[in-house]
Every structure is written in structure tokens, then in C-alpha cells.
Point group: C2
Chain length 458, copies 2
């Protein structure tokens, strides 16, 4: 391991330059105008995997953006690890809030700023560099590895499910490792044992066939924006509870033990308020902040638009109004069932004088893992060895649909060991990644492959 550390230190600037190249590619999977950029990022990974010494590197076409696969399978008798990452990123708006442009990576105060720095280009890149470091210094890897890197994580991985279903042999492994979850805080490693699921919908309201003068027609017809507002407001009460009938029916209550363990974690609402710039937190009555984000489902409006958005006033009654909503789900809520309940709610609450249509977007099932699995315990030891701090077991409010896919289709144990920090502006302007965790994370991963090789021999 000393050679590995030295190698990583010597190559650090070179690695950061490579990472900057990667982060400069605007691989926004949600926007069709970036289709070619997404492909460019896939090609960049193909090239980088080959140079790192991985084998069978290939770009795999799907109906959407391509997958990238690579492997190294010469550790006879040792376990096989499947590493998953994604090279696509979220859109960047509101662009005016970025201090430096999202696709012009910039290092300041020990952090690298760019869209994708932490989610998930930076962390996926680390996996390749950790393997490269082992191969270049030790000439071999302690375990067999397969990497699958996708370009559609941020749009719900629509083409990964069929691929995994069809290619179970190719992907067969003993454990799946993903670095796309945050640590608990600076210097506080965490292994995530639960993720929320996801279902998302667009709601489109159509009233009069065109916009109308609010003087001539105000009072005569339904206002589409007002109708949308009424409809959305009917979905949540003032206590933060979702009012869609049946929404909570399949929620499995967390055990008292689990809730107690969360209560012992180093979380402070006051710090969170400061960090987010609000005077109070808000959410479903009767649950702590960690509980509300980890073990309770939500219904959030991600965007709303209708009528005049320009400078000043325009006295119109808008003809159309639109909203995008996402629910975060917990075991055992089913995303399709929840989407159906919301659609039924909309049917039952559509205001007079408008038509409402819904479009379903991506879904992801919720996931929960056992903390007792040896691969998870080995990850905890690796973190402690490098960070000098025991890893805690957390859940995460986000969704990684692929986790549930692998869990369900391949029955794989899954280790979610990430190196990002919660404050690193995932999905928001000024996304960044702390280089401290870039450095320690690389060593932790190298350590982990050795740990895993030993464990599985026992």
C-alpha cells in the first residue's frame, strides 16, 4: 500500500487535470441538445479505462445514452466486484447563480467546482484511478472487477433495467460497490444502507384555448394557473403531510432501534439551518429531520410555470399551467402504485373549467440493506483505517434506481461507500468536491479491495 500512496501522490496533478477534462464535458442527460456531449463523456471513459489497464472496454449502445463496460478478471479464486458509476450530470440552471461556469472546472480552497464534480463523475473517476494505481504499482488487483458506467442515472436509468436483466452473466459478481452517496460530514465516513425510491410526474393544465385579457374575461373563466395552484395545494397540508389518499399505506415503519441510532448521529438542525440559509426547517409533523429525509416519503414540486414571466405586469388569464412533481418513496411503497394514486387524486380534485393531463417520468424503487454483511463491514474497516474514524451506518433520502435494480434482479449485496459531503451542492449551482476526500478516498478504495480479498478467503 505504500507504493500505491506514493504513486497517487506523484500523479495527483496529472489526475486532477484529467478530471478537469472530464468535468468540462456538458453531459446533461435530460436535455436532448446535449446528446452528443453525453456520448463524448462515454467515449472519454472508454479511453481512460483502456489507459488505466482495464480490459474488454466497450461502449454499449442502448435506446438512449450508451453504457460503458470494462473488466479485469485475473484474480483467481478471489471475489468479483461490480463497480457502478454514472457519467451523466444534472442540468445547470439557474445558471446565473454559479460563481464559475459549470463546465469550466475550477479549483479553489481545496475544492474542485463543476457540475458532476461530486455527482458522480468525480467519484467514478476515483474508482478508475484507484484500480490504475494498484495495477501500476502491484502489477495486479486483489479482486476481480467489472465496471458498468451509465449515462442516464439523472433521468432515472430507463435503459439499465433491461440491460441488467439481459446481461446477468456478463455482470455476475459477488458484491456491487457504488460511490454516489455522501459521507455524514467532513472527516465522518458513512455507509448508506437505505435509499428512497422515486416517482415523478408532469401535470399539465389547459383552460381557455388562448391567453385572455384579465380585464375583459376576469371572473368569467377558470384561470389555469389558479386551477393548478388549487390542485397542487390539495396534495399537501400545512403540516407537511401528503394528502393523496393511500400514499402512506405501504410505508414500513422504521424500528425503534433504527430511529434511536439516527438520534445518536451527529446531526444538528441549527447547523443545517445555517448551511441552507433558512430560519426554520420544515417537514412532516412527528418526525426528526433525519427521519423525514431517510425513512419518510415526500411529494415535492420541482418546478412550476404558466402565464407571464417577464419584467413588470401582463394582465392575462393564462391558458396553460404546468408543474413537475417528484415523490421520494420508502420501503415498501411501489412507485407505479404511487403514481396511480396521484393520478386518481388529480382526477378527483380537478378544478372546474380546466382539463388536466399527467405524464409519468422516471421511477425507482426504495432499497434497504443489512449492515451485517461482511462486505459492508469490510468497507467500514477500510474507512476507519484511512480516516481514523469509524464509519457510521446511515440512510439517504436520494434515489439510485440502479441499486434497487441490481438488488432485485441479481440478488447482489450492495455497498454504498461514497466520498462526497452533503454540503457539496448535488444537483444545485456551485456543485463541488473536496480534494481531501479525493485523496483519502483513493487510498480507502485501494485498501478496501485488499480487505475484501482477505475477507472472502476466510
Amino acid at each position: 500500500m505504500n507504493d500505491v500512496r506514493t504513486y497517487l501522490e506523484q500523479k495527483r496533478e496529472e489526475h486532477l487535470d484529467e478530471l478537469k477534462q472530464l468535468l468540462a464535458i456538458p453531459s446533461v442527460s435530460a436535455l436532448s441538445e446535449h446528446k452528443e456531449d453525453v456520448r463524448k463523456a462515454a467515449a472519454w471513459f472508454v479511453d481512460t479505462l483502456q489507459k488505466a489497464g482495464l480490459e474488454h472496454v466497450e461502449m454499449i449502445e442502448t435506446k438512449g445514452h450508451p453504457l460503458v463496460y470494462a473488466d479485469w478478471l485475473h484474480a483467481k479464486g478471489k471475489p468479483t466486484v461490480l463497480i457502478y458509476g454514472h457519467y451523466d450530470v444534472q442540468p445547470v440552471d439557474p445558471i446565473n447563480l454559479w460563481e464559475t461556469p459549470p463546465f469550466e472546472p475550477s479549483i479553489r480552497e481545496g475544492k474542485i467546482f463543476a457540475r458532476g464534480a461530486t455527482d458522480d463523475k468525480g467519484q467514478t473517476f476515483m474508482h478508475i484511478k484507484a484500480l490504475e494505481a494498484l495495477l501500476k504499482t502491484e502489477g495486479t488487483l486483489p479482486v476481480n472487477v467489472k465496471l458498468i458506467i451509465e449515462g442516464e442515472e439523472e433521468i432515472g436509468s430507463p435503459n439499465l433495467d433491461p440491460f441488467v436483466e439481459q446481461e446477468q452473466n456478463k455482470l455476475q459478481a459477488d458484491v456491487l460497490v457504488i460511490s454516489d452517496t455522501p459521507m455524514l460530514g467532513k472527516g465522518k465516513p458513512a455507509i448508506c444502507t437505505g435509499l428512497r425510491g422515486l416517482c415523478s410526474l408532469q401535470i399539465d393544465v389547459k383552460g381557455t384555448k388562448g391567453d385572455l385579457h384579465s380585464g375583459l374575461y376576469g371572473g368569467a373563466v377558470q384561470n389555469s394557473v389558479h386551477a393548478l395552484v388549487q390542485l397542487l395545494d390539495s396534495m399537501r397540508n400545512e403540516k407537511g403531510q401528503v394528502m393523496v389518499e393511500g400514499f402512506y399505506d405501504d410505508v414500513v415503519d422504521a424500528s425503534p432501534e433504527e430511529r434511536e441510532s439516527f438520534a445518536r448521529l451527529d446531526h444538528h438542525d441549527d447547523e443545517m439551518k445555517d448551511e441552507l440559509g433558512v430560519t426554520e426547517l420544515f417537514g412532516e409533523e412527528g418526525f426528526s429531520t433525519l427521519e423525514r429525509t431517510w425513512i419518510r416519503p415526500t411529494l415535492e414540486i420541482n418546478g412550476i410555470y404558466g402565464g407571464f414571466q417577464g419584467e413588470g405586469v401582463k394582465t392575462v388569464i393564462p391558458s396553460e399551467a404546468h408543474a413537475k412533481i417528484t415523490c421520494r418513496l420508502v420501503p415498501d411503497q411501489d412507485p407505479h402504485q404511487i403514481a396511480s394514486l396521484i393520478e386518481k387524486h388529480i382526477e378527483g380534485h380537478t378544478p372546474l373549467g380546466v382539463k388536466v393531463t399527467t405524464t409519468r417520468f422516471d421511477t425507482g424503487r426504495p432499497f434497504a440493506a443489512s449492515i451485517d454483511h461482511p462486505a459492508i463491514q469490510a468497507a467500514a474497516r477500510s474507512y476507519e483505517a484511512i480516516y481514523g474514524e469509524p464509519a457510521v451506518f446511515t440512510r439517504m433520502g436520494g434515489s439510485i434506481p440502479v441499486v434497487e435494480t441490481f438488488h432485485r434482479l441479481m440478488k447482489l449485496p450492495i455497498v454504498l461507500m461514497g466520498f462526497g459531503l452533503p454540503s457539496e451542492n448535488f444537483h444545485a449551482p456551485n456543485e463541488h468536491f473536496h480534494l481531501e476526500n479525493f485523496d483519502k478516498g483513493l487510498v480507502t478504495l485501494c485498501h478496501y479491495w485488499h480487505e475484501l480479498a482477505n475477507i472472502e478467503e476466510n
Copy 2:
């Protein structure tokens, strides 16, 4: 009058070409990028007034867009008419719904299509051409006239009030005539005896300092869009009633006679539904459609925006959300008082975890006139002489703040005789003006100046 008719027939094509030039100028007063275009339209009017034979033509600077003034004062012993019009227009979005570009005037099926065709460039232009026709054929005018044409009507005439207050001598007249209100329908002239007032506000909601990942933070903090939705929904109930405390307190109920006269008008909800493309009309319980638009106040959301508006999904908790609202007011509601009541409502209903600020935009007081005034009766006779149909007395749901200004500051009787049709897409895509009313309206105006000269002599 026969010479006038012949003159107008002979000059028709020339006049329409001139009108097209005027309509091609994108004088959108609300958008600062069109500042120079607004000025260009003012200059166009200065030029056209001079060529028409009006005198003392001048462009008058204000803090905003300029005013245009002209007069002709040689009808000794005859009354003086002040004619008001506006040369500014509404914004054009949604631009994609226009069949031909809003600033490329196009005549088809007897209508001229362009932003401003009916509101109010087209009708203001008619006034000049009617005066020109009288001057060129009769060598004189039956009455003295003053014209004041402004460039800020669509943004609430912020600079007209101080001007009128200061220049009462210059503007002194016996009657004010405005053509900016619609007829009741094709071939059905109407004189408007009441206008609603206006007050408008922008509501800005600010939550967390930046957008957040809806997975990591969903459940922990207030969602700005959801907070805005809750706030807006609290302002109106499902029966279309405004729930802002005190909102209806100063409303003067219309007399049973007036309500009965509205009920006798040729209005059919079914035709309106067809025209607007809706299956049902909607508004405050207990009032007919005409009553809801003429004698009842409203609170409308003109626009809403916050969070992600792009293609597909973006799983964010938006940091900001915005709405624009406009109230239409009836006698004796005071726009500033209503704005205060709304601000108080907002303070009392601000959801937890966000800050809400409001910005007041333009206001206009409601107005009601007496139908017995000789100048109004003369207008009715003029319509009947040309259209062969008696003019009915209506109210209008729209606001022309200047009407209330002149009424209040100069105690002028006001005649609202318009030539537009309600179906001509005021403030909406595909605004147009029927050339039938361009032709008949010109003759009606010439007739009216003669009627007015005779009346006042009795």
C-alpha cells in the same frame, strides 16, 4: 358628410398602408428592450398628426415613455373635445401561437392582424384619419379638438397622472372621448359606462439559499414553490370567491335595474364557451357571467414560475418561486387599500420556512358614468345612424386608468365609444381588428363631431 364618405373610400388603401407601418413598430412599453421602439411609435404619431392638419403637435417627455399632443381650436363657440388614445402595446408572448408575426401586419378575411391592431393603435389611428377627412373635405372641424396619446397605458399610465394634474389648462375640454372599449358584438355598437380598476403585485418567495437535491433534502425544508402554491391557494376558494379579508367591503352593489338591463343583453354563455374552447365557465358563485366581469372584482394569477421548467425531470427543491397577480376592482374599491389588504393576507398566511416579499405594480381606480349625459346620448345616436342599430350601454371588465384620472382630476364627462370586438384577442396572440368597423367607425366619428356641435348649441 357625403364628401367625407367619398374621401374615406378613396383613401382607404392608403390609410391601411399607413396603419400597417404603425403596427409594424414593436412599441411594447413593458419591456425595456423596446424603449426605442416605443419612442419610434410616438414620433410616427407626431408626423401623422402634422400631415393630417392638426396643430401644435409635440412630443412631450416624461420620466418614462413620451406623450404626444396635438390640437385644432378654430371652431369658435363650439365645444372642445379631448381625445385620448395610446400607442403602446402588450408583450407578444407566447409568440409561437401567432399565425403571422405580431409586428408584420397581415390582412386576411377582412381583418388586420398585428399586436395593437385593435388595442389601441388601430382605434387611435382612426381618430386622426376622421379628423383629417373632415379637414380635407370640409376645410374645418365642427368642434375644437385636443388629442393626447400616451405610451404607457399597458403598464398602468404611471406618468399620465402627474401630467394631467399639472397641465389641466392645456387639456381643458368639455368632454373626453376614448375609443379603447369593445362593441357588444359584430354590428352591435356599445357605449361603455363603467370600467373596473386595477391593482397588481408581484409575490417573491425565497426559501433555502440555493436549489437543493430533492432526495437528500426532501422532507427537511420548505419547498418555495409549494409555499407559494399554499399562499396563492389561500387567496381564493373553490367557489371563485376571494378570501382576502376585507376584499369585498367597499364594493357598491349594482342596482337591481342595472342587473336586469345586463340580463336583457344579447349574451349567451354557450357561445362564450365555444369561442373560448372550454366546457364550462367559472367564477364567483351567485353572479351571471356579465356581472362577474363587469360589476364584481377579481383576483387573478397572471403568471407563476419557479424551479425547473425544461424538458423531462430535475429533482430539485427550488430555492425561489414567483407569481404575478392582478385584481380587477369595482366602485368604490381603492386599489392601494386592496394592495394593503393582500399584503396583510400574505403576512398572515406565509408558510413556515420561507420569506415572502411583494412588489406593487400599477394601479387604476374603477369608474362609472351616467348614461344620461348629452354627449353620451349623442354618441348613441351617431352609432345608430351609421350601424342602423341602437347602441347599448354596457360596462367593461378591463381597466383604463386614465379614465378615472380624467374623471377625478378634471371632472370631465367621458364617452367610451370603441369599435373593437370582444373576440379580437386583446392582449393575446393573433390580435386583430375588423376592417368593417374601421370603415364604419371612421364615418361614425365624423358624424359624432357634427352631432356634438349641434347638441351643445341647443
